[in-house]
């Protein structure tokens, strides 16, 4: 199961959980009516715990995601790597058609006209990395290809009526 499939599963479980809570609360209106003062007393007690849980969970999630941020520090950006310039323009990418396997690559992505996006899909159609291609700026995207094969770059930022046609294929390793 790919990373995004797991995300979808987590989302569906959470959405199902939310739906269930709402159904249970809606069905509670069939029970004898509870005085609002009493309901407030009990409800606020639950809310305090819920507030604490949500806050701690979100802060923990923030800390947990930090190591996976794709941003390169100045030091790592200048480390040994194959630098591959990529120029995006309506409606193509100018870049090499073959790249090495298991070598640290830094794509230096820019645009010649409007905003584009440089999204790399593997042979299974999974989106493995992306960055914006913006005129006047260069975005450095670090990728190390672990599998040889055919990869497809697609534009993921609307760039004009030929947007959906803007793609480029390249191979990795001895493919």
């Amino acid at each position: 199961m790919g990373a995004t499939s797991k995300l979808l599963l987590i989302f569906l479980l959470l959405a199902g959980g939310v739906g269930s809570v709402f159904v249970v609360v809606a069905l509670s209106t069939r029970q004898p009516i509870e005085d609002q003062t009493e309901m407030h007393r009990r409800g606020y007690a639950v809310r305090s715990k819920w507030f604490l849980f949500v806050t701690l969970f979100l802060l923990a999630a923030f800390v947990a995601t930090l190591p996976f941020f794709p941003y390169l520090s100045r030091v790592t950006a200048q480390g040994p790597a194959l630098r591959v310039p990529v120029i995006a323009q309506q409606f193509t990418f100018i870049m090499p058609s073959h790249l090495p396997l298991k070598q640290r690559i830094i794509f230096e992505v820019t645009s010649r006209d409007v905003n584009h996006n440089f999204g790399i899909y593997n042979s299974k159609g999974e989106l493995i990395a992306q960055t914006q291609a913006m005129p006047d700026y260069v975005n450095n995207l670090e990728v190390t290809f672990q599998k040889s094969g055919r990869y497809t770059v697609r534009c993921l930022e609307y760039c004009g009526v030929g947007h959906a046609l803007m793609e480029k294929e390249f191979t990795v390793g001895g493919y």
Partner: protein, 484 residues
Amino acid sequence: MKLYLAFGLIIAAVMMLVGLTMRMAQAQWLSIPPDVFYELLTLHGAGMIIALVVCAMGGLWFLMRRRISLSAPLAVAAWALLMLGVAGVVISVVFGHYAGLYTFLYPLPFIGSWPGWATGVFLIGMMLINIGWMIWCFQILGAVLRAYGGLRGALGWNFVWCPKAFAAAGHEPPPPEAFPAVVAGLDGLITGMVAMLLGVALLVRWIDPRVLIDPLWAKNLTYLYMHALANLIIYMLAAFIYVGLSYVTKREYHTSKVFVIAWWSSLVFILTNYFHHLYMDVSSQPQILQYFGELSSYLTAIPVTAVTVFGALMLVWRSRTRWTLGAVFMYSGLIGWVVGGIGAEIDASVPFNLHLHNTLWVPAHFHTYLLGGCLLFVMGWVFLLLESRSEHSTSKLMRSLIFTLSFGGMVVFLLGFYFGGATGVPRRYDTQPLPGPLIAQFATIGVIIMLLGFTLAFFEGLRLRSGFSADRMLWPQNLRDDIS
């Protein structure tokens, strides 16, 4: 309010048909040239946001007018400017074939396949819409500040920090619906001015092509405005929950200290969350803003889930709720808000955004909270009014039919976006790579079922409208009677 609501709902209905057309094209059941597809997409995006903003403006204005003095002619003037702007957008797209999208990124409007005049008319149209919006913000903010003792009073500052002195002086905090009004007024004006700055820069560029604009600066300003506006819609419609759910549950939503602090935090987060739109500007955007963007996006969930939604569930819990069609729509809208929020939080996580950014996951989450949240709040509100003034309600059979078709179809439609996003299908593609077309076919069926439900709701609304009597009191008055 009728002017705003009627216009908003008509535009929303037309734009849903436009949306259906686009989904059918992506399903390969309809052949549309790419330029026409993107014109429709431009129209759909702009139209839907404007429709929902207008509904929220009308609803909140109506709710506040019950408590404070608001000028009707000024509200009509703001509406007229909005209409003028909408006319500009329609002319630009229909006659000028402008297809740069509603959330466009500089310099696309100037390097498109459409004529230059279409770009100019589109920009002027959007600026008129923004001016209408800002007039409304000025009006509502000014009136709220006058009524509740300035910014300090309207934000409940003394109520939170000096509660004893506040109570001893015999003061009462503003009602719950005043907080969406003050937040919409403040954040709406701040981001509206940002949009004016960007709009003027773009107009100057349109007049003189030698003028160059920094694309990253323009991108930040674009997302600050667009994100805040989309967010404000749902925050403004929270006022419907405070008043509408109180009515159907026969309970009162109180202004508490926690509630006030929650709105203070929303006031800030609405302005700081937009950074998550620029996560994939991996080197150009300052890194500190990327970290701040994720933290801010996460923290947004706290006031929503721990205060407003939790408070709404407390209202319903073991209450005397009458599950009329209006109550069902309004309550279901809360689910759309929360579930859309979960989708948004996943996308706002940088490591996940790397795989989901600008895939169908993006329209998935915002359709969930705009269609499954905001639109249902508006429909819930309309039906609560109709039920109250006609003193009739919908039969159980019809209610079940409308709910099953509307909600069931919506779930199928939205799942199409989520599955598409998880499989990496890009958004804003007229022809999608596999499995996009197959998913679009299921989604299209979902849309048709949902629209069938909405059509039944429309005719049911007409039936209730026929029993309408102007002599009957508006239901907010009934609400007070019920509570007392």
